[in-house]
Point group: C2
Chain length 182, copies 2
DNA sequence: ACGGACATGTAATCGGTTACATGATTAC
DNA sequence: GTAATCATGTAACCGATTACATGTCCGT
């Protein structure tokens, strides 16, 4: 139920419409908790039913501006301080590694090289974003920068790991199956 | 559709029953692609319908031993070499970081300390598992060890990040809100 | 006048989780 | 005999994705 809390978190900063929130998801939460338009409007409806948010104002084009309620704030604080984050891993990149024995070692190494490359691109993306965000000095920047740093460290770690893993395969395939020698 | 490929990958090593596969999921794939019993039996049914696997033998207690077909092997190889892994991030741990401005800085720091602690525990778990697995010298060990190493590096990275982030909050809250001075 | 952005909603489908349900065989 | 393990299946529900559907307002 984290989408719910993401919405509460955003509404705790400013009241906003579904449309506004969608934009925020696209630009700043896309990398930690992506959500689609359908999902978002549906969840806002449920939040309003549960009285965790209220429709504070209505504008042109059927615009509904939502605001967080006291109950919503309480729920948000509870989630922030008293609910253990659950770590779901589920990486299909790592799953493939488990079955790399099914292809020849050159293909396996190519796979890991590609992953290193992808992680390097990711890293560059994070670097660009960090420079872009660093200008502002608001709340969003302070805490947003912490997750940006996570992204930087994660992509660096993954690149190094993939390069190391490629070397490991080279080592073990080099000894197990010498290239047509003898 | 990665569960499907996980099953194909396991069956490419040895024929097995749903029950056998479930045990393998619980012990060795739990950390990269967890799956439940219901999901697994349902997917095996679909794989058989699609003729990517066959029922190679039937045993006592209604046991069905599945074997991968040529079409299944082809699908597995295609997935391994030609399908780009998709990176879904979705970390509720990081999502909370975005909203840490909602609680006071001592609570925010406590949150990050707790995450550092959890990552340290994770790291120990991976270390224990590595020693345990390192004995065997089969395929599963070779490639399994690569993902174990990923787990070690990931948990180390996350611990270091959380400790750094706690320091960042201390720094910025220390300057923004001096303790009752003046 | 018209195109683009604003704005909200619904329906179908899918993958995953939890819970329920049942029964056979084996080891003690 | 009986408990543990082996073994398979179904149903309800939930969150997420994709696609469809509709309409309004604003700037040029």
């Amino acid at each position: 139920m984290s989408l719910r809390h993401a919405l509460l978190g955003l509404l705790a900063r400013n009241p906003a419409s579904g449309y506004d929130l969608l934009k925020i998801f696209e630009i700043s939460l896309a990398n930690v908790w992506p959500a689609t338009q359908s999902q978002l409007y549906a969840e806002l409806g449920r939040l309003a039913d549960a009285e965790l948010v209220t429709v504070a104002a209505e504008g042109p084009r059927g615009r509904k501006e939502y605001a967080i309620s006291d109950a919503g704030l309480a729920e948000l604080h509870h989630w922030l301080t008293a609910v253990e984050p659950r770590k779901i891993v589920r990486s299909d990149m790592l799953l493939r590694v488990f079955f790399l024995g099914q292809v020849d070692s050159e293909q396996a190494r190519a796979y890991l090289r590609r992953q290193a490359e992808i992680s390097a691109e990711e890293h560059e993306k994070w670097e660009a974003l960090t420079e872009f965000v660093a200008e502002g000095e608001d709340d969003l920047s302070v805490f947003g920068l912490l997750s940006l740093e996570w992204g930087l460290r994660f992509s660096a770690m993954q690149r190094e790991w993939a390069e190391w893993a490629e070397g490991e395969i080279e080592r073990s395939s080099g000894t197990d199956a010498p290239p047509a020698a003898r």
